[in-house]
């Protein structure tokens, strides 16, 4: 039982580290064609519900972190494809699993995580420019807690810390830029930069101006090489770089990073897709 619980936790952390590997389609304002589905090793299941609505969820996490995301397309604006993305997740069960004694304990075992709902809204705009597909996104993240959340119950790891901090700060803001380039018919690259802030979070009394506004921030950058074998299968590889402000100061980390061998390894993701008739 302990082993399977640890396995789930480690898979969660590992997939969280790799979980930002979506190809350009999920990042962009483009919606999956109606009745097409896509899924990856570490990616959510995505489904084109209609010509203007796509939904997605991480099926493997669903029972320990219920989650759902909707992407809705809107009218074009100044040549941009426009969409909004609405995400909802409930991290309480997985965090309570991580609050344990012994190996695999990410949170002090005496803490109980109260019911919490995370809500995220993004405006996404995509336009072909300079031979590339450019996507801009901005939005707000809201963390609702229904009980006492101990300030020490965060997890000071890249990717996790700033996402969970939304529950400690009540809200955060994010913005990003994605550039997708085709090299050949089957080979393409994706480069993105995402910046998120938690205004006012953990700022010191002596902080003022921009430091106070930014609070604790994170800058994430990703590079992916995408090989699309067919409409049904593609392979992605690359890296993610995270630079952020933590309670102990700024720190950067190249991901995925294997602690025991102290080395970065290239991320590898396999994705499958198909259209339902």
């Amino acid at each position: 039982m302990h082993k399977s619980r640890n396995l789930i936790l480690w898979f969660f952390v590992f997939s969280f580290c790799l979980g930002d590997m979506q190809n350009w389609r999920s990042h962009s304002a483009n919606i999956l064609p109606q009745k097409r589905w896509e899924v990856g090793l570490f990616q959510p299941f995505r489904y084109g519900y209609s010509e203007t609505l796509e939904y997605s969820a991480y099926p493997l996490w669903f029972f320990i972190m219920p989650n759902v995301t909707f992407k809705k397309s809107h009218e074009n604006f100044s040549g941009y494809n426009v969409a909004t993305r609405w995400s909802l997740f409930y991290p309480t069960p997985i965090l309570n699993m991580a609050s344990k004694k012994g190996i695999g304990g990410f949170i002090d075992p005496t803490f109980e995580i109260p019911p919490m709902i995370g809500f995220s809204l993004s405006l996404i705009m995509t336009k072909p420019m300079f031979g590339s597909e450019i996507t801009l996104n901005s939005g707000i993240d809201i963390g609702l807690t229904f009980g006492d959340l101990d300030a020490r119950s965060n997890i000071e790891l890249p990717l996790l810390y700033h996402r969970l901090s939304v529950f400690h700060n009540s809200y955060g803001l994010h913005t990003g830029l994605d550039i997708e380039n085709s090299i050949t018919k089957k080979l393409s690259t994706l480069v993105d930069v995402d910046f998120s802030i938690l205004p006012g979070m953990d700022s010191k009394e002596t902080d003022s101006g921009i430091s106070k506004i930014l609070g604790e921030y994170s800058l994430e950058h990703k590079f992916l090489l995408i090989y699309e074998k067919s409409k049904r299968f593609r392979i992605l590889t690359g890296y993610k770089f995270v630079f952020g402000e933590y309670p102990f100061g700024p720190e950067s980390r190249l991901l995925p990073f294997l602690p025991l061998v102290d080395s970065w390894i290239p991320m590898i993701e396999l994705q499958w897709g198909r259209s339902l008739r």
Partner: protein, 376 residues
């Protein structure tokens, strides 16, 4: 072409910046982190005796029932309590008014103590001016018990400037799995020269050690041997030292089995049974034949701050785990001696003190003494 070079350079830079080891390891000798108080007050040494103190301050957690060493459930201290205790530790150091302070279990960037830089805090809140810090455990994230980030170690604080500071690596335990050892303590000795205290061409060194606590193999023997080697090299070169720390060893003649004293209610073995075969890690001081007498060479070669005849008296006990319970049900504040001071000079007679009144500030109590540099 320039663009490609720029991209390659940027990627390399990212890889270097983002590929620091998760758990730091160290060379045989390395340079400690050096500190200075926010406001340095000048002390001119005019030949008076030097007061020295050693104290394992337990990261400012006081007598917290901590998950790792005292039957507790909590991994993280309450951050407000840590600030209060650290202030009391600073106040105690100010009252004792030591010239040199040897500290163990000082955190500078640990989640368990609110990421407080305790070396800087003590320098800014005492009459001490300079510091040198050698990490014992520097791990980005401990994936166990909710401990998270830890940066803890040994420090030397001084009124006088410290130079040529060195972190001297001690052997790792051999009774652990690779996974546990990866994120486990890397014990060390920290040594620094104090140029203001040079006497007749003889250099003066402060040497601080925190030896292994929980090893069940011969790691402790290796630590004490390395410590003796370091002290001998100072002495053999005709120089002076004051040294000490948490040796995690009891004096010859002491009780060696504290398993029953330290037992937790949920321990699977009943250590109160006479002749129990297995022993609690850290509570038994007879893991190898010479362990009960492991400190004899130190006592034979150097001067202890607490006289050899007094070392097993209860008034000089310096430690008991936070949750040790006496037979009458009350908390055992101290029941063994683990903390020591030695010099190759001469202690001022009767100056050695064990400050048991500070029992509530840590699970170790400070030991102090006054060393006379001008007496042979």
């Amino acid at each position: 072409m320039r663009q490609i070079q720029f991209v390659i350079a940027s990627v390399l830079l990212l890889m270097i910046a983002g590929c620091e080891p998760f758990a730091k390891s160290y060379a045989d000798t390395s340079v400690p982190k050096m500190y200075e108080a926010g406001n340095v007050s000048n002390f001119d040494y005019v030949g008076e005796p030097i007061k020295v103190i050693t104290w394992n301050i337990r990261f400012g957690a006081g007598r917290l029932e901590w998950i790792i060493d005292s039957c507790g459930e909590m991994a993280l201290a309450d951050y407000d309590s840590v600030e209060i205790i650290m202030q009391r530790i600073a106040d105690t150091l100010n009252v004792i008014d030591a010239d040199i302070v040897l500290l163990q279990e000082v955190d500078i960037e640990s989640k368990r103590s609110g990421f407080m830089d305790q070396v800087q805090f003590l320098l800014d809140n005492t009459n001490l001016n300079y510091g040198a810090y050698a990490p014992m455990m520097e791990v980005d994230f401990v994936f166990s018990d909710g401990l998270g980030r830890i940066n803890t170690g040994n420090a030397i604080l001084s009124k006088y400037e410290l130079t040529e500071a060195e972190r001297i690596k001690l052997s790792l335990r051999t009774d652990q799995s690779t996974l546990v050892q990866y994120g486990y303590a890397r014990r060390n000795i920290i040594k620094a020269k104090i140029p203001d205290l040079v006497q007749a061409g003889k250099d003066f060194y402060a040497v601080n050690i925190h030896a292994t606590a929980f090893a069940t193999d011969k790691t402790k023997e290796k630590h004490i041997e390395r410590y003796l080697e370091e002290l001998s090299s100072i002495s053999d070169n005709g120089n002076m030292f004051v040294s000490g720390g948490d040796l995690n060893s009891v004096p010859t003649g002491s009780t060696i089995d504290f398993c029953a004293n330290d037992m937790c209610s949920n321990d699977e073995i009943d250590y109160t049974i006479e002749g129990h075969e297995e022993h609690r890690e850290g509570s038994y001081f007879g893991n190898f034949d010479s362990e009960p007498n492991i400190l004899d060479p130190l006592y034979n070669l150097y001067q202890p701050a607490i006289d050899i005849e007094l070392r097993n008296l209860s008034e000089h006990f310096t430690h008991a785990p936070s949750t040790s319970i006496s037979s009458d049900g009350s908390l055992t504040k101290y029941d063994r001696k683990l903390d020591y001071l030695f010099t190759n000079k001469v202690w001022k007679p009767a100056s050695g003190k064990t400050h048991q009144s500070a029992w509530h500030l840590s699970d170790h109590m400070p030991v102090s003494g006054i060393v006379q540099l001008d007496v042979e």
